[in-house]
Symmetry: C2
Subunit: 189 residues, 2 copies
């Protein structure tokens, strides 16, 4: 097959996949987890039902794929946030703010409760923990952050503390949460 064709097929497949994921997520948002079938998704996305089954075995498989895409996007946002600053403390601050705002926007739903029990989340959680741990270790080396508690424990503390954002109504409250969390990490000599 000429390369231009295989590229075109790849793009087409990606487009079908993305349409299925977007449609499934918005239908679940409207109708709840139990109110959505493969037929609903196929119809709304404008894909044949048989085609949809070539891509995904059931609704849960679509939602897991959607969630994996969300996680990948969130990790990119966090990596991009890190690159917006050079000072270790600024880097950590901007990453934690981004994480708090993501938690605030995307959690607390029935869908999140289901998906967060999935095994695919464990890997992302470990990755995220390692990412924050490295930033914290940098901050301890630069003298900004406390050194009496291991960076791994501080990273776990941060990520748990910031999940509180999902019950907060305003962005200002989420930012205050980040400031309180950071205050726990600072070196107070």
């Amino acid at each position: 097959m000429p390369k231009i064709w295989s590229e075109s097929i790849k793009t087409h497949r990606q487009a079908v996949r993305d349409a299925a994921l977007d449609t499934a997520a918005s239908l679940v948002g409207e109708r709840g987890l139990t109110g959505v079938t493969m037929s609903h998704i196929a119809e709304r996305a404008g894909i044949g039902r048989a085609t949809l089954y070539k891509y995904f075995s059931d609704v849960e498989a679509i939602l897991v794929a959607w969630h994996q895409r969300q996680i990948a996007r969130h990790l990119s946002l966090l990596t991009a946030a890190k690159d917006r600053a050079t000072d270790p403390l600024d880097r950590l601050t901007v990453v934690l703010e981004t994480y708090a705002l993501i938690s605030q926007e995307h959690h607390g739903t029935e869908l999140a409760a289901l998906l967060h029990r999935g095994e695919h989340v464990e890997h992302a959680r470990e990755h995220l923990k390692g990412f924050v741990e490295t930033l914290i270790a940098d901050g301890a080396r630069s003298g900004d952050l406390r050194e009496d508690v291991p960076p791994a424990e501080l990273a776990t503390f941060c990520l748990h503390a910031l999940t509180a954002a999902d019950g907060m109504r305003s962005k200002a409250a989420a930012r205050r949460l980040v400031q309180v969390t950071l205050a726990g990490l600072l070196r107070h000599s």
Copy 2:
């Protein structure tokens, strides 16, 4: 019925109930959630199966009752902790340490994940949040804690941050977590 008899019946009923709860919890610990039936519980607790059904409709009802009893015990532990100190900051510290140790001992299991979705948990969570919020407001008034963030937000922060204890292996790590969390609450002037 003479009072001594009705008291005796009440005590007996409580004993049957407690035996059912203890047995169900330990069987689920051994065999997992799906491996336990009403017959298993009746047999191990030494109660007739028909009697057990007079008290509880199914295994889930027993586990919810068990969890309600656990929550009540934990809230008593927290209240008792508060009464061990008089200074506002000491009170908050001892309560948060108690909460961290409870989180560390009792969570992270399949059973906890099931039970924590129950509606009966919501009320306890609100109660606990109010309890911690009051201690934080006292600490702000006494000048120990920050006043730039509302006590309700600080209470939410604390309770989320301390759930990190459930992945920590040592009591020392749980205590460090409490110190880091408290550092987030302190007034730094």
